[in-house]
Amino acid sequence: MDFELTNRQKQICRAAREFAEGEFPGIAREYDRREEFPRDLWKKACELGFIGVFIKKEYGGLGLGFLEFAMVMEEFWRVDPGCGNILLTAFGSELIQLYGTEEQKKRYLPPLTRGEAIMGAAITEPDAGSDILSILTAARKDGNDYVINGSKQFITNGSIASHIVVFCLTHTEAESRLKRFGTIVVETDRPGFGAIKLTGKLGIRASDTAEIRLSEVRVPKENLIGGKEGEGFPQIMQLFNINRVIAASQGVGVAQGALEKAIKHVKERKQFGQPIGAFQAVQFKIAEMATWVEATRALTYKAGWMIDHGKADPKLISIAKYLAGEIGVKVANEALQLHGGYGYIADYDIERFYRDAKIVEIYEGTKEIEKNTIARELLGRL
């Protein structure tokens, strides 16, 4: 056992924090208002090595673990969740690194860390959210190509990505439902690919979200990740294992950021002749918020560490993701409450945190799905 961060991890956290504190506050409000992806910020983050830290060195990354990725994410979200999602520009590359062929890795991974490409992963559909086995997007084999038809919903980076991993039905005839899928890389400049940016999101508005339409999109069969059909579902489960930890770190980050804003405010704000932090009711709130953050951070680090050490634990991952999402929302809510009327207006960033936090309870598996996963691990199938 050893609960200390390594020196390397401490350095990474500090660097991420300094970058975020230096770059995000000046632009966060504006990009939130305009619902625009902060392209210059993303470029700068690439230059400094923050994007795709988990990508192996031979493919242009730093060769770190998913735990370190989670730590960077936490620091970014602590300062601003919307801007922090520039880290998701490598979303989906985990699949290529884990399961891709050598040519796929060489072709798709290096441009991500160099800031020359943005990726995404398209799983959800209009009628298949939590129930992912019910997706309808189909890839039909035609000679040396796949021809893809269908639509995908709520896709992160959907309208800014240069290529997207699309979760498709490839084998409708397979007896086991779990063997009917494949994951295929689709370049967004292929004829028949269309993306419509979704606007009016509650939060993380600097993060791009789109609806995707695929109509007779033709891609070579070399674009199938790993080259073997029917492997899509287990691949996606592993992608979820990783990205649920990353989402958990977002919950920890937004909660930590909101907590720090609350602490600063209760020390400064005076009512009844004393700082509001001198009131025991406020002290108790702060103590509870800090405890929740600490507990979810400990769970998230552990879940991430287990993945990097070949012991991925889906129950623990779902616990971390569900609790971190809920605690992000609870802490942001209490932080806003402590700010009173000031918290309710945009001049104080806490209203944005309040809106941003909610997504962690929804994406990468709603908290209800996480609870289903936990219960299944506890009870087995009944």
Binding site: A295, N372, A375, L378, L379
Partner: protein, 381 residues
């Protein structure tokens, strides 16, 4: 970073679990019903090396950490919280181990792991609970002894301990309140020292709790823990950093044990033609309970590890303590709920869990005091 338990830690946990599973169930109900301390069980635990594992080899212990001590507490509490409190028969030895004189360590510590003595520590008084600095039991210094007068309340092992560490007022005229107290070792045999067991506790009834009366009890000067008077409060804070961790682990153990019972019951119990566990309402409850347990455990393990690695973090310890107490109470409430009427009846042992769990929110610093400590660490004064 390394989140894996060492193989020694795994072995200790397994041994503690097997011992508890083998020995506790047959006496648990009886001890609870009659409010008796399970003396034979305690002896056996000593024989097998479960008691006082943090005591250095030089003083008769195996010289493990407080974390390992806490692991045993967790596994014991998982099977039965009341019987599990036999782990507390070394309570107060932390004072001697951390601050005692060499002679004190040699005289008192070896008796504990061997099962030849039970200890306690007496801090709380009828009018000084959370407000520890207001302790008024007085120890007046004479030429070669102290004379102690006062009352102590809610003292664990009070009526069964062979000796206890008593927090006394020795330097009433010190300007700063935290410098007015000293810790003194008092043997049960001293004249004028009386105890009365407190009955009808809500839970943890296998654990002895007593009121202590000191009327002009004389103890030799060398019973002062350490060399200097006025250190008692400061020593106590260091002791709390250890004992709070142990209690926090008990909260985790109670919650874990309850969760396991609820899982088992949800699989067996059928209603509407199917196991309870197949209903999503029950599944969500279990998922939430398991999440609370894991979160509390994550905090506890980290806090405990820090203690043994010279990085004591009172904020984290207080977090672990209040959170695991609350988690235990919340989880056990749901455990009773899932068991329905059977949970409410004594013979299934579930209602005992409900009563036992509550103590973790009160003992070794109420959860309110823990929150004040956390807030003070965060906000300053």
């Amino acid at each position: 970073m390394d989140f894996e338990l060492t193989s020694e830690q795994k072995d200790i946990k397994k041994a503690a679990r097997e011992f508890a599973e083998g020995m506790f169930p047959e006496v648990a109900e009886e001890c609870d019903l009659h409010e008796t301390f399970p003396r034979a069980l305690w002896k056996k635990a000593c024989d097998l090396g479960f008691i006082g594992v943090y005591i250095d080899e030089a003083y008769g212990g195996p010289g493990l950490g407080f974390l390992e001590h806490a692991f045993i507490a967790e596994e014991f509490a998982r099977v039965d919280a009341g019987c599990g409190t036999i782990i507390h028969t070394t309570l107060g030895s932390e004072f001697i181990l951390l601050f005692g004189r060499e002679e004190q360590k040699r005289e008192y510590l070896p008796l504990l792991p061997k099962g030849e003595a039970i200890m306690g520590m007496a801090i709380t008084e009828p009018d000084a609970g959370s407000d520890v600095a207001s302790v008024s039991t007085v120890a007046r210094r004479m030429k070669d002894h102290y004379v102690i007068s006062g009352n102590k309340m809610f003292i664990t092992n009070g009526s069964i301990a062979d000796f206890l560490v008593i927090l006394c007022l020795t330097n009433e005229n010190e300007e700063v309140k935290p410098k007015r107290h000293s810790a003194l070792i008092v043997e049960k045999s001293r004249k004028g020292f009386e105890t009365s067991q407190l009955k009808r506790k809500l839970g943890m009834r296998a654990s002895d709790t007593a009121e202590l009366h000191f009327s002009d009890v004389e103890v030799p000067l060398q019973n002062l823990v350490g060399e200097k008077e006025g250190e008692g409060f400061h020593q106590l804070m260091a002791v709390f950093n250890r004992t709070r961790v142990t209690v926090a682990f008990q909260g985790v153990g109670i919650a874990q044990g309850g969760l396991e019972k609820a899982i088992q019951y949800s699989k067996q119990r059928k209603q509407f033609g199917r196991p309870l566990g197949s209903f999503q309402g029950i599944q969500f409850k279990l998922a939430e309970m398991a999440s609370l347990v894991e979160a509390a455990r994550a905090l506890c393990y980290q806090a405990g590890w820090m203690v043994d690695h010279g990085k004591i973090d009172p904020k984290l310890i207080s977090m672990a303590k209040w959170f695991s107490g609350e988690a235990a109470v919340k989880v056990i409430d749901e455990v009773v709920q899932i068991h329905g009427g059977y949970g409410y009846l004594g013979e299934y042992g579930i209602e005992r869990l409900y009563r036992d769990a509550k103590l973790v929110e009160i003992v070794e610093g109420t959860k309110e005091i823990e929150k004040l400590i956390i807030a003070r660490e965060i906000l300053g004064r």
